[in-house]
Structures are given as C-alpha cells and as structure tokens.
C-alpha cells in the first residue's frame, strides 16, 4: 500500500482521505487534508511550528507518520477558535503583538493551549520551560510569555 485511506477525526469532524505511506502527519494535514495551519519550520522536531494535539497529547506532527494516526483524534490550529470568537490565547497574542512573521504562531498557540489545559495557572518559569520546544526567530519570546500569562488570567477570571 503506497496510498492508503486515512480515517481520522480532525477538529471534531470525521475525515477520510488518501495519504501516502511516506507522509508524515504534517504532510498529510497540509497536502492531503488541505489544512495549512500547522507549519513546517525544520521538519526534524526542533522548532515546534508543526505542533498539533494527537489523542490528547501535544506532538510535533513532522515526527509522526500519517499511517500511525488512523482512527485517532487530532486538534490543529484550525480547531482552536470558536465559530464566532477567537480563543483567549489568540486574542492575547494579538493584543500583545506576540507575533511578527507568524510562522511559529500556530505551534506556540497549540503548545500554550496544551499547557493551560493541564496547568491553568502556570508560573513564568513553567511557561518558558513548557514552550522550550517552540522556536521563534522574530519576537524574542517575552511578548509570547506575556500573552500566555494574560490568556491564563482571562480564562481563570
């Protein structure tokens, strides 16, 4: 089987599409499922731009084979906002100017969401440690950290 039918639930929707056995999950999302939100920064696990949530766990989709995720549940950046409102993290990233070129942003948002889901009140140290696998060449990180702190406050209030 070079091509195979991949069945997954992506952002709450049952999806079925053809993928190649050589595809990473990132390839399958972008090239087969048409979801361009997850970005390819390094394609080797170091930058976090491709981060998605796979069966409840944050993973780098470039380090997962598409064939592995048959019958899994995936949340991508496209599933973060509500139909008519942004996720608090998206709001605070905008308010804090926590992005410039934006390549790293989907990965930071998915990673930060996974953090706040498991630890609603993280310290600055915990935020920096959790986001260590996400690289940003533009912002210098401080604005990203502030955006995550603001989002935590907004969600908890």
């Amino acid at each position: 089987m070079a091509r195979f039918v991949l069945k997954t639930n992506i952002n709450g929707e049952e999806r079925e599409f053809l993928a190649d056995e050589r595809d990473s999950l990132l390839d399958a999302l972008r090239e087969r499922a048409g979801l361009m939100g997850a970005k390819e920064g390094c394609n080797n696990g170091n930058c976090g731009a491709c981060a998605v949530v796979l069966d409840g766990r944050l993973v780098n989709s470039c380090c997962v084979m598409a064939a592995e995720v048959d019958n899994s549940e995936i949340t991508t950046i496209e599933g973060l906002a509500e139909p008519d409102s942004l996720h608090p993290l998206q709001e605070t990233f905008l308010e804090n100017a926590a992005l410039q070129c934006g390549i790293c942003t989907p990965g930071f948002l998915m990673s930060a969401k996974a953090l706040l889901d498991s630890n609603p009140n993280p310290t600055e140290h915990e935020i920096r440690w959790w986001l260590a696998g996400n690289l940003c060449r533009c912002t210098g990180y401080d604005k990203i950290i502030r955006a995550v702190q603001d989002a935590a406050e907004r969600i908890n209030s």
Binding site: N44, R57, L58, N60, M65, A67, W129, L131, A132
Partner: protein, 288 residues
C-alpha cells in the same frame, strides 16, 4: 522520505515476525522522534516501520515494592515523570527524562527508543545504568535479559540481533539507604544534546558505602560505567575526599572526542564535576 511501508504489530510475537521477515532495514517505530527524522534525512535506510505502540504491554508500566519498576519500552516518558511512584522511588530517572527534548517530544519519546537509538549522549542511558536497569528483550530465539550497561557496542549500535526488540526495561526496588542522581551539562537550559551527562548511585550502611555505580555519557563511543569510581567509594566512609577520588576516577575514565559541543579538556573536566555533584545528591538522598 524514502519509500517505506508501515506495519502495526499488536502482539510481541507479531512484532518479532515482522522484524525477522523485514530483515535489517525493518525498524521498530516507537515514538518516532529519532527514527522518523533519521529516515527522512536518510541517515538510516528504512524499508519498513514496525509500530509497536499497539502492543498493550509495551505502553504501560508497573511499580510495586517487591518487584520494582517495569516500564513497557514504548511508553512515552511524560507518563513516567508524572507518576507519583516513579517520582518518589526513581528521582534520578525523572531528572533524565524531563530534559529529553521539549513537551512535544516527551509526549512520544520512549525509554526503549532512547536505549535502542544508542547515542553515546542519550540522556536516560546513564540514569538507567546508574540504577542498574535491565533490558528485557524478545526475539525469534526467545527472551533474554541484558543489563543496560552491557547493551551498547558503538555509536548507534547495540547487541540486538535480527528480529529482536526490547519489550520492557526493569529497575529493582531501591534498597534501604540508597540514593541516585543524574545531571547533564548543556550550554542552554533545555533542547540540546549533552556535552556530558552522568548518573550516580550509592548505598550506605551508616557512613560506609556498601555499593556504588557511576555512569558517564558523551565521553566515549558508548555510554560507559566507571568501575574505578565505584571502587574509590565501596567499603570506605563517605567524605568529601572519597567523593573527590571517585570524581578523579571519572576524569581518568573519560576518553571523549572534541566536537562543536565541547573540547576533550572540557568534557574530561565535566566528567569530574558532574560525578561529584551527582554523588553529593545521591548521598543526600541515601541518608533520607
């Protein structure tokens, strides 16, 4: 990516059959954080991935006071470091696995993968060696147990034969009055490969050392045990002097190469410093 097939094993025997039939270029796929990148960058020839994550016993772990800890080889490390028993009884393991990559890597990376990737710098390896961990291996000729300290044969190479794979890694229950610790040196705080890493274990009877194990990583072609460091401690009083003598033995045992991460001189020095620091903590833990 090179052309690869993907196969899922749901039992240990099925995995052995797929690996035996697949030959040398059939590779176990655990968390994939090493092998997928290596296959993509053609650092390794891979014709087929044998996914072992659907074998139930590969994805769980068990601790009890009589048998100790047994970790299914493909269990992602974040499940291990979040576990109360592992935090309480194996802090040296937690110290190593919390620094393997970042959050998204730890959601997938496994002890079996770190072991079988067999990098001289693999962070959990010196921790497992200090703890006296055993690899439980299954293959076409049955099962065998090999100490992690005897597992490596060179950079990226190990004792596994065709068709064999690691099913679990076992750790004895830490004896009374024992303690272990692990540290690495890297230029940043996270997300980097160790310049040197070190795991130490001691068991005390009062102030006398009755057992000790010191392991060093990234200072030779494989992670190494330092028997001379253990000998400098066993049967002696635990003092700053005996710890210094053990650290000196690590300095002598380290035969590193120089590369972009560190010089020979720096790595030898770090071997000494990390031995001393991990021993200090291990002793503190042994005293309780």
């Amino acid at each position: 990516m090179q052309t690869v097939t993907y196969q899922r094993a749901s039992t240990v025997n099925e995995a052995i059959a797929l690996l035996s039939d697949g030959g040398e270029n059939a590779r176990v796929l655990a968390g994939g954080t090493d092998i997928i990148v290596q296959a993509r960058e053609r650092a390794r020839t891979v014709d087929s991935f044998v996914d072992i994550k659907h074998i139930p016993e590969l994805m769980t772990f068990n601790y009890n006071t009589s048998d100790g800890l047994s970790v299914g080889a493909a269990t992602p490390v974040y499940l291990l470091y979040n576990d109360n028993d592992i935090q309480t009884h194996y802090p040296a393991l937690v110290e190593a696995i919390t620094v393997i990559g970042g959050t998204a890597i730890q959601g997938r990376a496994s002890l079996g993968g770190n072991l079988c990737n067999s990098s001289p710098a693999g962070d959990s390896l010196t921790s497992m060696m200090a703890l006296g961990a055993i690899a439980n291996i299954a293959g076409p000729n049955g099962e065998r147990d090999v100490a992690v300290s005897e597992f490596f044969t060179g950079p990226g190479r190990n004792i596994l034969d065709l068709g064999e794979f690691v099913v679990a890694i076992s750790f004895a229950t830490p004896p009374a009055n024992s303690g272990a610790a692990w540290q690495r040196f890297i230029p940043r705080n996270e997300m980097d490969i160790a310049v040197v890493n070190c795991g130490s274990y001691v068991q005390l009877d009062g102030e006398i050392v009755t057992d000790a194990r010191i392991a060093l990583g990234a200072v030779a072609a494989t992670p190494i045990m330092v028997p001379a460091a253990a000998e400098a401690l066993i049967g002696r009083q635990i003092t700053d002097e005996t710890i210094s003598a053990a650290a000196e033995a690590s300095y002598e045992a380290a035969t590193p190469i120089a590369d972009m991460r560190g010089s020979v001189k720096q790595r030898k020095h770090l071997s000494k410093v990390l031995t001393q620091r991990t021993l200090d903590i291990a002793v503190e833990r042994a005293r309780g």
